[in-house]
């Protein structure tokens, strides 16, 4: 962690920066309207009133929900798009890495693409030639140098792309969520590289959803919400604030949520996790220590009676990978709604997830038409219990999200 750096001077100053977009499509009738001066499209501010000063040698982690303006801020700072108001100043060259393998052309070989991508990111051919062997070694794709990139696996493409970018040497490096790809070992390598850059006095701006990386790598944090600065300061404080805001949001009563889709004939009024009544004959009775039962009580509301309701809970990881769906139709239950409210329970006797934070979507159909779909309707926390009875807790990243009972049989 780059602590002990003093702010000699600011690498980036941002003054009243804002960027707005017009909603709606271009072309056709909108052209006419603009010519007539009647452009009534709505304006949407992706970021607004941002005032910051980032010191030389700072590693700034930028966090926030999707749509909070993180990527727009990076795009403005890397001069891909111009701000609508305000201004920003940068000291020195800015290298930005908003996507891995910028400019790769599938028909060209690995070697040719290294030069192409390098040139796009601002490296001149001489600099690339000097570091060529290092880049190839970092990517570990040496045997495939003369193969067109279209025949690379996606992992190889990512490694090559990052290897080129890692050898950029700008005063300011801007990195968007690019570490989410690639395997763990490679991610570690990339983090190491960024840490190294920061130690060399480079300023790094980094967007990531992996909060642990932000805490580990950054000394400064910036939390954005709705295009505004919520917190700017110590990285750990920003992350803590963010965690807090996420949990507050997901605890917001589902009835108040506006961000839902469906025709709304019947809606989920509430869903709460309740204590499950353990069924005596459940299969995990044999090993109670590794069983986790979960149950939820759901209340639906709607003005009209409806037959043929189907309800699903979709459990997914924080990153959005779906893990399991609990679906009434699959288990042969037909739900009916009687106005104004219907109440039912869902129970799982053993949810085979390793300890960690998960999220649940609710999905409701009436006559096979989606009536109400709420993403992230409620959090699911699998507590760190000693499921296996010997003090070892599986880790979702290293060991996967599922835990299944299994045995090893050794013939003696």
């Amino acid at each position: 962690m780059p602590t002990g750096f003093k702010v000699l001077t600011d690498a980036i100053t941002i003054e009243g920066l804002g960027k707005s977009f017009r909603l709606g499509t271009d072309g056709g009738r909108s052209v006419l309207r603009r010519l007539l001066g009647r452009d009534a499209r709505e304006t949407f501010w992706a970021i607004r009133d941002i005032d910051l000063s980032i010191g030389v040698g700072d590693v700034l982690g930028i966090i926030g929900r999707n749509g909070s303006g993180k990527s727009t801020l990076l795009k403005v700072l890397s001069r891909i798009t111009r701000p609508t108001e305000g201004r920003f100043g940068v000291r020195g060259r800015v290298g930005s890495l908003l996507e891995v393998g910028t400019g790769f052309h599938p028909e060209l070989t690995g070697r040719e693409n290294i030069f192409l991508s390098g040139a796009l990111l601002g490296l001149d051919p001489a600099a690339i030639r000097k570091q060529f062997d290092e880049i190839v070694a970092f990517a570990g794709t040496e045997p495939f140098l003369e193969t067109p990139v279209k025949r690379y696996s996606s992992g190889m493409r990512v490694r090559l792309g990052f290897a080129v970018a890692a050898h950029l040497d700008p005063e300011i490096l801007i990195v968007d969520e690019v570490l989410a790809v690639g395997d763990l070992a490679f991610q570690q390598k990339c983090l190491g590289k960024m840490d190294h850059l920061a130690r060399g006095g480079r300023t790094v701006l980094l967007v990531s959803h992996q909060l642990a990386n932000i805490e580990g790598l950054c000394n400064k944090g910036l939390l954005l919400d709705g295009g505004n600065v919520v917190h700017f300061g110590d990285a750990r404080d920003s992350v803590a604030k963010y965690r807090e805001s996420v949990s507050v949001r997901s605890h917001a009563a589902i009835a108040q949520r506006e961000d839902r889709t469906g025709n709304g004939k019947v809606r989920v009024h509430s869903i709460v996790e309740i204590d499950a009544d353990r069924k005596i004959d459940s299969p995990c009775d044999a090993a109670p220590a590794v069983c986790t039962s979960h149950a939820w009580e759901v209340v639906l509301e709607g003005h009209d009676d409806c037959d043929h309701l189907d309800f699903a809970l979709i459990v997914h990881t924080q990153r959005g990978d779906r893990l399991v769906t609990l679906f009434s139709r699959w288990v042969g239950t037909t739900l009916r709604h009687t106005a104004p409210q219907t109440r039912f329970r869902i129970q799982v006797d053993d949810l085979p997830l390793v300890p960690g934070e998960y999220r649940i979507d609710t999905w409701l159909t009436v006559n096979e038409q989606v009536a109400d779909y709420v993403e992230g309707a409620l959090p699911l926390r699998i507590a760190e219990t000693d499921r296996l009875g010997h003090g070892f807790t599986p880790d979702p990243v290293k060991h996967g999200h599922l835990w299944v009972p299994h045995r090893f049989i050794v013939e003696s």
Binding site: F21, G57, I80, R82, E112, L120
Partner: protein, 305 residues
Amino acid sequence: MDRDGWDTIQGDMQASDTTAVPATATTREEPPELRYFDAGGVGTVQSLCDLWNFRGLAWTLAVRDVRVQYRQSLLGISWALARPFLTMLVFIWLFGMIGRVPADRPSDYGLLLFAGLLPWQWFTSCVSVGSNSLVANEHLITKVFFPRWILVLSPLLVAGLDFILGLLLLAGMMVWKGHPVGLECLLAPLFVLLAAVSAIAMTSWLAAMNALYRDVRHVVPFALQLGMLVSPVVYQSDTILSARVQTIASINPMATAINGFRYCLLGTPAPAGIEIIISVISCLLLLLSGVWFFGKVESTIADRV
């Protein structure tokens, strides 16, 4: 947000910057100047600086396009020669059928055609590829900063390779025909430059317009066909046009570029001084307005393509 405290610390640091000995690796050299960017764009000087800093990129992108163009093709680069050559044969055959060749010396018509086709095809491939370049390179425009005008320059380089190869073929044909070459040929680069600048100017306009309204893509092929009739590509200007019409036609800089190119290499009558002046002026006007319009569109391009 604790901005006041932050600014004070920073102000102190800046004040004592010259005397303080920093304990870290950041003592490299004087930090560069703070450069500001706002909604208004960066001004001409900064634009030219950016262009200079990225000068290698136009070349790199051109190399990419040349490589991709001829990869997985049997004839490869020979297509660059085949295209003008086959076009030449078609027109020789066509006018042979009609029985009236639009040139002073019908025996040299093949050379005349080829010498017209070379600059014209350079112009057309630059314009037709370049006018779509902002849209075709959308994935770059939205992901990385570079002066967008490079996307106009690079098609000119790509088509320039075809031009140079064609020039070699033309030289071969002239030797084979035993056509004499005078000292005028040293002036040829000037007319080639006129053609290149015209191509860039036209491409700047069309690329920017195409980024806004894709209708341009449908108009360009048609307009280029029309342009081929207006420019003396398949005919010799002074053979079929009156002097007055020729003067008016020189508003199209490609007319003078082709006439001049032919004069230098084949010894056809030189374009009149007034024609050259008109062409150069119209070319420069087109270039300046094109660059201005391109700059306008460039400012919002990443949000709109």
